[in-house]
């Protein structure tokens, strides 16, 4: 065995190299404050290991990127852990970078003759941040897509070359396959190669000049192996433990809904360490009159420039102090701007609603993908045709200026305008009818309080239904109340709601009684409404009330004879006027009725 190693050493000189690497001299002994560079190297090694496995699972195109990440997360054992480790290690690298930089500057390790090595470090920091930025897009989910869109639009704000640069980076006039292939080549090829080259240079120069010991030296000198290595290994293990804890607590890394260029995702934010730059983009708020280029180019460039020139004047004690003060100030500004950005989001109900909606879309996309598989055209299509996803969005855009859904706009945002038409959560259900027929409720804003049926324009009278509930129903005795309840069960059964299917089946007798009650003198429904071929008048036809077909019909044209006719209050004919497509109307109706798979 020994002769084999001798043979190898004779040809490679590996023993000498190993000695040089392992037995570096550490004045003043091993210290915990020297571990940060090693933890960063370790983090990069972890990124290479997990990155290569991710590479084997990832497919960079607009129809397969989200899909392949989804498959890795949901169907491949261990996939979520690999992706989780990659994601959280990237997150943890940022504080490690800051710690390393601060330690180097505080200990004076950036001063002559170590300036070039320090610049290598700054370049490495840039490469690591570029890796974060390019990696953020690769899952092609809503979060990555919209954040990257902002980042690449910023490129366009660079004077003169910006627009061309942006087009080269995204691979065309718009985002798509070519954006992903380019970002992937950068993320998995160009940047890692650059990273390795810079690390080799960084470590070579570090070894050339030796460690800059923290004064005063407290212990006898030691060697890198095993004293410092042991401390480094403990620190690396702590880093991995933190990463694994984060992976476990977050069940891996987030995958939001598939990127949808047509659906603005207002919860899109960059990763937390870019939030200060994000806040800086609101530069106009702080310095009115200055344009975007200040926040996107000038200030960030000035910070980088300051970092680069710091060592040149550092041999004067006062300037070293100035550098340190600048760094602490920069760090404080970083924290403060990050805090401002996060506080702004925390106070914004729209942001909270967008985050919730994003989470719902993501969960829904995964659920449909798991049950139905993903079509060749891609996962985005799953959501585009899904009532549960599109229903509330269409409702918020078209219906919520008058109606509410559980008190909000369908997406969880409080209503902007005063509610002037009925609440629609539970549409068609027994509960909905019970609230509507309640004398205490019908004239409130939540129901018909804001309609012309309660507050008619001058010269017109109140709606008959309002009078009926407020005056007749309010005086019902116990027997009539029972009849009303039967009628409500019968009418609600017309809706044939999926959620009520079993209840309706078990209430067959009550439904039959209720149908009769609707025609009897005590309730008199068919005085105004037609119902199953009987009666009729000025009220909407109640046959098939709130069924899919009835609901679609009233959205298409509420002023149709079958519905409100000339008494229609203000509701537009969304179908007749082509405000919504047939499919959009179907999706709102299906969502309101809880009719989806």
């Amino acid at each position: 065995m020994r002769s084999l190693f001798d043979w190898l050493d004779h040809r490679t000189g590996y023993r000498g190299m190993l000695r040089a690497v392992l037995f570096e001299h550490i004045p003043g002994g091993a210290r915990w404050r020297y571990v940060w560079g090693s933890t960063l190297t370790f983090a990069i090694v972890v990124q290479f290991i997990t990155g290569i496995f991710l590479w084997m699972a990832y497919s960079p195109s607009a129809q397969t990127a989200w899909e392949s990440v989804f498959y890795l997360q949901e169907h491949v054992p261990g996939g979520w852990i690999v992706r989780g480790i990659h994601h959280w290690t990237a997150q943890i690298m940022v504080p490690l970078l800051v710690l390393h930089l601060m330690q180097v500057v505080i200990d004076g390790a950036y001063k002559a003759p170590r300036e070039v090595n320090y610049w290598f470090g700054i370049a490495l920091m840039g490469v690591v941040l570029a890796l974060s930025l390019t990696g953020y897009l690769l899952p092609w989910d809503q979060k990555g897509f919209w954040a990257t869109k902002v980042a690449t639009n910023l490129l366009a704000s660079i004077p003169a070359i910006g627009p061309s640069l942006q087009r080269i980076v995204i691979g065309g006039p718009d985002y798509g396959h070519q954006t992903l292939t380019r970002f992937f080549a950068l993320h998995a090829g160009v940047l890692p190669a650059l990273l390795v080259a810079l690390i080799v240079g960084h470590i070579y120069l570090f070894r050339r000049h030796g460690i800059t010991p923290k004064r005063p030296l407290r212990l006898p000198d030691a060697r890198f192996w095993p004293d410092q290595v042991l401390k480094d290994a403990v620190a690396c293990l702590a880093v991995m433990a933190a990463v694994l804890t984060l992976v476990w607590l977050n069940r891996g890394a987030e995958l939001t809904a598939p990127a949808n260029p047509a659906d603005n995702y207002s919860a899109a934010r960059p990763d937390w360490y870019f939030m200060s730059l994000f806040e800086l983009l609101k530069f106009q708020e702080y310095f009115p009159g200055k344009n975007l280029v200040w926040g996107s180019v000038i200030i960030p460039s000035a910070i980088v420039l300051f970092l680069l020139v710091m060592p040149l004047w550092s041999r004067w004690r006062v300037m070293h102090g100035f550098n340190l003060a600048g760094l602490w100030l920069g760090l404080a500004a970083f924290c403060w701007l990050t805090f401002l950005a996060m506080r702004h989001d925390a106070r914004d109900p729209h942001f909270a609603a967008a985050v919730k909606q994003g989470a719902r879309d993501a969960a829904r996309a995964k659920q449909i993908a798991i049950t139905h598989g993903i079509p060749p055209i891609g996962a985005l299509e799953l959501l585009r045709d899904d009532p549960l996803t599109q229903g509330p969005k269409i409702f918020a855009a078209k219906c919520s200026s008058c109606h509410s859904y559980d008190g909000h706009d369908g997406l969880g945002v409080p209503l902007q305008d005063k509610q002037t038409a009925a609440e629609l959560k539970g549409w068609g259900s027994r509960d909905w009818l019970r609230s509507f027929m309640d004398p205490e409720k019908i004239a409130t804003d939540r129901w018909w309080g804001g309609t012309a049926f309660v507050h008619p324009p001058p010269g017109k009278s109140k709606g008959k239904m309002v009078d009926y509930v407020l005056e007749d129903v309010a005086k019902f005795d116990a027997a009539q109340k029972q009849q009303l309840n039967d009628a409500i069960v019968a009418l609600s059964a017309e809706a044939a709601l999926p959620a009520q299917r079993d209840d309706d089946k078990h209430a067959a007798t009550q439904i039959a009684t209720g149908r009769v009650a609707m025609g009897e003198t005590q309730l008199n429904c068919i005085d105004c409404h037609s119902f199953r071929g009987e009666g009729g008048g000025t009220g909407p036809d109640l046959t098939g009330w709130a069924s899919r077909e009835w609901t679609i019909g009233i959205i298409e044209n509420p002023a149709h004879k079958r519905f409100y006719d000339r008494r229609n209050d203000r509701m537009p004919a969304y179908g007749e006027k082509h405000e919504l497509t047939k499919r959009q109307i179907e999706m709102v109706a299906d969502w309101l009725r809880g009719d989806w798979q």
């Binding site: 001299h25 004045p27 003043g28 370790f42 090694v45 972890v46 290991i49 997990t50 290569i52 496995f53 084997m56 699972a57 397969t64 899909e67 392949s68 989804f70 498959y71 890795l72 169907h75 491949v76 054992p77 261990g78 996939g79 852990i81 690999v82 480790i85 030796g210 010991p213 030296l217 006898p220 000198d221 030691a222 060697r223 192996w225 095993p226 004293d227 290595v229 042991l230 290994a233 403990v234 690396c236 293990l237 880093v239 991995m240 694994l244 993908a369 139905h372 598989g373 993903i374 079509p375 060749p376």
Partner: protein
């Protein structure tokens, strides 16, 4: 470093050596522990294909009326297929030769050569199946002919006549071995 005279590490004696060894062992142990999780999870992802199975599919290939007696005809096998994340409603997944031997007797062969999986052709002039990759030849009944590199004859498939429709249970088989072993 100029203001500090390097002090020599203490001379090695037995307790110090033991301590150094323990430190080294601890380093190796901790270092291994550091990369254990990413490596283990990564390798689990890497070997995932071993647990995947392609179920056999039953497909209708043609109707009896278009099959001439005594002449092999090739048909594409088109079926629904799940390829990792994508659910394809229809996709070509292989090819099958059908040979109608008599009025109601049909045999089916997977068109993949049992040698190394190339596509076999039927050559009219030789009245034999022929693999253009490595010159394997097979008789009309699928048996190996002459000095073929293939270790076994063409892989027959189960055929079923439903009314006048020809249905086949499509399967692939391990190549390069004497036994016919289905690949699940």
């Amino acid at each position: 470093m100029t203001d500090h005279e390097p002090t020599e590490p203490p001379p090695a004696d037995a307790p110090v050596e033991r301590r150094e060894f323990l430190k080294g062992a601890a380093c190796a142990l901790l270092g291994g522990a550091c990369v254990l999780a990413p490596l283990a999870a990564g390798i689990t992802v890497l070997v995932h294909p071993l647990s995947l199975e392609g179920p056999p599919v039953e497909v209708k290939l043609t109707t009896l009326d278009v099959l001439p007696i005594g002449k092999p005809r090739i048909f594409q096998v088109v079926a629904a297929r799940r390829d990792a994340w994508t659910q394809f409603p229809t996709q070509a997944i292989g090819a099958v030769f059908l040979l109608r031997k008599s009025e109601e007797e049909i045999v089916a062969f997977n068109a993949a050569c049992p040698h190394l999986g190339c596509s076999v052709e039927y050559r009219e002039e030789r009245t034999a199946f022929y693999c253009p990759c490595h010159d394997s030849s097979f008789a009309k009944d699928g048996a190996v002919v002459g000095q073929s590199p293939s270790l076994r004859g063409l892989d027959s498939l189960v055929v079923e006549l439903r009314e006048r429709e020809v249905w086949v249970k499509f399967l692939n088989f391990k190549t390069g071995v004497r036994e016919k072993v289905a690949v699940g």
